[in-house]
């Protein structure tokens, strides 16, 4: 119990004193996960909408696979990305291992199935209502895709938040492909792991509290943005 209090105190102190190292690794955490999230959404949303409005042979199989991959184990993703980007691996010449780019790629792989599945589920519901209308006014497939994505914004934001949550708290993959290098690839989760291994639980916990508050504030900001644009987001 005492350690939790100590951790809270230290977290407050770290934040209040604008500890420069803390700020750098927090920003790096945000940079990695938000970039991965952006890449994921650019792939996931169109893919999800496409899976809703079209019918083709392996559609159900793809949906089932994506659903299963929601629980993709990060440490396995990390290992695969490591093998691909290792100097002895097929993509080794790019020299991306132990850079934030490798971490972003790993996280994007982890997040994409999750966002696609959530987005697909919500758009599927909407499609049932919209289908006949859209077909009757004779819009193209592309227009249907656009309408679906626009009108299910709120669910898509939820999908993004789920993806963000999975990414920002992830440690298994980025530890392997990022290497937890000081001043280069260290982020909040890997720093927590490091301080735990030094037995400095108070500092580890303090970083943990910072991570949780970061996740909460991102979620609150999103909600607040949704509220202020009352007309736009339904």
């Amino acid at each position: 119990m005492n350690e939790i209090l100590q951790g809270l105190m230290q977290a407050f102190w770290l934040v209040l004193s604008f500890d420069s190292e803390l700020i750098t690794i927090s920003l790096r955490s945000l940079y990695v996960t938000l970039t991965a999230l952006t890449i994921s959404t650019l792939i996931a949303f169109p893919l999800a909408a496409f899976l809703v409005v079209t019918r083709f042979r392996f559609r159900q199989a793809i949906i089932a696979t994506l659903n299963a991959l929601m629980g993709l184990p990060p440490v396995v993703v990390g290992l695969i990305v490591y093998i691909l980007f290792s100097r002895s691996g097929p993509l080794g010449v790019l020299g991306l291992l132990y850079t934030t780019s490798a971490m972003i790629i790993a996280q994007a792989i982890i997040i994409t199935p999750l966002i696609t599945s959530i987005a697909h589920q919500s758009m599927q519901g909407l499609w049932v209502d919209y289908r006949n209308l859209l077909i009757s006014i004779n819009v193209s497939k592309m227009q249907s895709l656009g309408t679906l994505m626009w009108d299910s914004k709120k669910a898509l934001i939820t999908a993004c938040l789920a993806g963000f949550g999975r990414g920002i708290g992830e440690v298994g993959a980025i530890m392997i492909v990022g290497g937890n290098i000081d001043n280069a690839t260290r982020v909040l989760t890997t720093a927590i792991s490091l301080e735990t291994s030094r037995g400095d639980f108070a500092l580890a916990l303090a970083l943990g509290f910072v991570l949780i508050s970061l996740a909460i504030s991102v979620s609150f900001t999103t909600h607040w943005l949704g509220k202020t644009e009352r007309g736009g987001l339904r």
Partner: protein
């Protein structure tokens, strides 16, 4: 999709341009880092040579693997048989001894296995094999784990016979100590990591000071013939710095709790 590709491309470009700064990647054993010596040494090394050193902290087994794959420019590890093997296979150019410290056996304060007054290390391990007490093993093929296996072999005992009380954890030194603290168990650790460790619980050093507990750290540059991208010139500078008078002073002056923990012995 196009935008995603564009972003990927720009990020790769960003990495390529930042790669122009002189940087060297070293895979180092977790005890070098958990002991705090790296924080004491590396900043001096970086300022003196004006290079950016990126440390990847892993167990010796993994460090050697990273070296073989060419993912790092040099390794600093502590397991002589493995080091000689990687030099033999040609992935490392040579092996340069830098410094040593010692292993100790940590155990609960009341010492249920009675190892404190053992005549030598082998007797201490024999007592551990007979006493029905928990023993935490690193279990990750790190230098420390290899040392432990070596000692069990010397007394002709398979530690698996201890049964459920032989806890193989597969973690770095510090995390393994945390687990030993939680179980109130015995564990083989290097002394520096232990002294620098904050979560000591009820554990104490119960046995130390046997020649077999000597723990030698060596520096091995990765061979440019095997991996052409290796920064061998910079690595050579680092090696020269590590065996210099300045490094000697810094290593020998690293003190935790009034004790010198590493001894420089490069030739």
């Amino acid at each position: 999709m196009m935008r995603a590709l564009l972003i990927c491309f720009m990020l790769i470009l960003l990495q390529v341009t930042s790669a122009l700064a002189e940087k060297v990647r070293l895979a180092v054993t977790s005890s070098f880092h958990n002991s705090g010596l790296s924080d004491h040494l590396i900043p001096h090394l970086e300022t003196d040579l004006e290079i950016d050193i990126q440390l990847i902290v892993v167990g010796t087994g993994q460090a050697i693997k990273l070296g073989e794959n060419g993912d790092v420019d040099a390794i600093l590890v502590h397991s002589k048989p493995d080091e000689e093997e990687i030099v033999k296979t040609g992935f490392a150019k040579h092996r340069r001894e830098i410094m040593f410290n010692e292993y100790v056996i940590l155990g609960p304060a009341n010492d249920p296995a009675q190892i404190k007054f053992s005549d030598n290390l082998l007797e201490a391990f024999r007592n551990l094999s007979k006493a029905n007490t928990e023993f935490v093993s690193r279990g990750d093929l790190s230098g420390t784990h290899k040392k432990e296996i070596e000692i069990w072999k010397k007394i002709n005992f398979n530690p698996k016979k201890i049964g459920t009380k032989y806890i193989s954890v597969g973690s770095t030194m510090g995390k393994a100590i945390n687990i030993a603290v939680a179980f109130d168990a015995y564990i083989l650790s290097d002394k520096a990591t232990w002294l620098n460790h904050k979560n000591k619980g009820n554990l104490e050093i119960q046995f130390e000071g046997d020649l077999l507990l000597h723990n030698q750290y060596s520096f091995l540059p990765i061979n440019k013939n095997k991996h052409s991208h290796v920064e061998s010139k910079l690595v050579k500078k680092i090696e020269e710095w590590l065996v210099s008078e300045k490094a000697k002073k810094l290593i020998n002056s690293y003190i935790i709790e009034d004790k010198q923990v590493f001894t420089f012995n490069a030739k």
